[in-house]
């Protein structure tokens, strides 16, 4: 499907959803505003959050705080996860040593780390970043590990035959060879970062979208709840799109035949 047609379909879908929202909550009154806010309520809540602030901070501050936590947790998980995945994919010994640990850690839901994280790092940002780190870490390790194993053996042998020194081998063979799977891992890690964020911010936060959502729930303020959710959706989508752009650049060599020669 051509791009313009696809985006036209997307816009139409969103328009239909918006229309349904207006009809169900505002016009027909089928859904009471106490359960789901009308567009007007939501708009008002949005303006309030932006101008006067909500929960001791303006919307911009909440968004920036959440973006900071997601970015730091996500980047930390890549910085540790990708090298560890490379090691486990390459070295049978490392895999044998580390895999049992992973089998034990994997079933633990990331949120179950919150009590320990708070015990270690207190109620500040550190504990929240650590929880996001735990959530984002696993997919980046596992997918990198699988990515290394998908590199064809003759390609690795060719690199050895050419006398490629170790670090160049890692940089120019192992990493690019595993990169399609590494990016799959990064996308899952980013997603996990956002899903964990809101829960991580429920405890002892002074700002952030999760904090805002928590307050709005206590205040029985559906309009503000929706504003918080929409912000998570928008910035989640934006960071995902950013990662997608990086991926397209990094994997340019993979584009299908017939691309510019």
């Amino acid at each position: 499907m051509p791009l313009s047609r696809r985006s036209a379909v997307g816009v139409t879908t969103l328009a239909v959803v918006a229309l349904a929202w207006v009809l169900l909550t505002g016009v027909s009154g089928l859904v009471s505003p106490g359960r789901f806010p009308t567009p007007a309520d939501t708009w008002a809540a949005g303006i309030q959050a932006m101008m006067r602030g909500y929960g001791d901070a303006t919307l911009v501050v909440h968004v920036l705080q959440s973006l900071k936590l997601v970015a730091l947790g996500f980047l930390a998980s890549i910085a540790v996860g990708v090298p560890l995945g490379l090691l486990m994919g390459w070295s049978k010994t490392a895999e044998a040593v580390l895999n049992p640990v992973f089998m034990l850690l994997r079933p633990i839901p990331p949120l179950a780390w919150i009590p320990l994280a708070i015990l270690w790092l207190g109620l500040g940002d550190g504990a929240k970043i650590l929880v996001i780190f735990f959530a984002a870490f696993v997919p980046s390790v596992i997918n990198t590990q699988v990515g290394v194993k998908t590199i064809e053996r003759p390609v690795i042998e060719a690199a050895r035959m050419l006398g490629t020194p170790r670090w160049r081998f890692v940089r120019e063979v192992l990493v690019p060879g595993a990169s399609p799977m590494i990016f799959t891992g990064l996308r899952l890690s980013l997603q996990a970062s956002w899903t964990t964020l809101v829960a991580a911010e429920l405890v002892g936060a002074l700002a952030g979208l999760g904090h805002m959502l928590n307050l709005a729930q206590q205040d029985l303020y559906p309009g503000m709840i929706l504003v918080g959710m929409v912000c998570v959706a928008i910035f989640g989508a934006l960071t995902t799109a950013l990662l997608g752009a990086v991926e397209r650049r990094a994997l340019a060599w993979k584009r299908t035949r017939g691309g510019a020669a």
């Binding site: 035959m161 006398g163 060879g177």
Partner: protein, 262 residues
Amino acid sequence: MSSIRFDAVGKSFGGGVLTLQDINLDVADKEFVAIVGPSGCGKTTCLRMAAGFDFPTSGRVLVGNSEVTKPGPDRAVVFQQFALFPWKTVTENIELGLRNKSVARDERKARVADAVAMIGLGGYENSYPHQLSGGMQQRVAIARAYVLDPQVLLMDEPFGALDAQTRVVMQEELVRLARLNPRTVLFITHGVEEAVYLADRVAIMTRRPGRIKEIVDVKSVRIAERWDSHSRIEDVMDLESFVHLRTHIWKSLREEKAGADH
């Protein structure tokens, strides 16, 4: 001194079925030896042992005077499956070995340009392997090995994916290079004519377990019959002495293939 010596080499993979049995083959320094044999008889395995990717179960493989323990750029390999780096352009693929040898940038660029010209891929320097046809990829794999200027060249059906015209050009080029600057070459092929045209000696293998059945001396005939006075491959292939050798090898191989049918 870069001879290759297979000394009573036997090889079985894991289970214990014998793949290669008592392989004795000496490729002298700067000699060109071709191996022909039925599919699955262990030709690639022989080459991989010389390259240092596989190791004999019994016997020894020596290059120069030392036993092969690991791969290295002194023994350039042209792989049967090309094995190019999909994320590197044509130039980057060819250049990696030279960078590993710390060849200076200017010399490197010049040698890569020569290699690209030799394989006739001018204009494709910045293409990625998936943008090339199978034959073009194979030529990049050949250039990647040639550009190292190695003492030993190990080539596993290097012209298998080429069309007939390109193959002839590459064969003539290989003969020209071999005369100009002789190397120790172990060359695997299914093409009997190609083996006779290129090699000093042709080793014929039996089907499983692979053994060396016969080694045919081509070089003495080539010199005696002055094949080199013909520059074109088709003229050489028309010579009675050429046809005689070719037919001899064909028959020897046919016996192996016929054996496989029972």
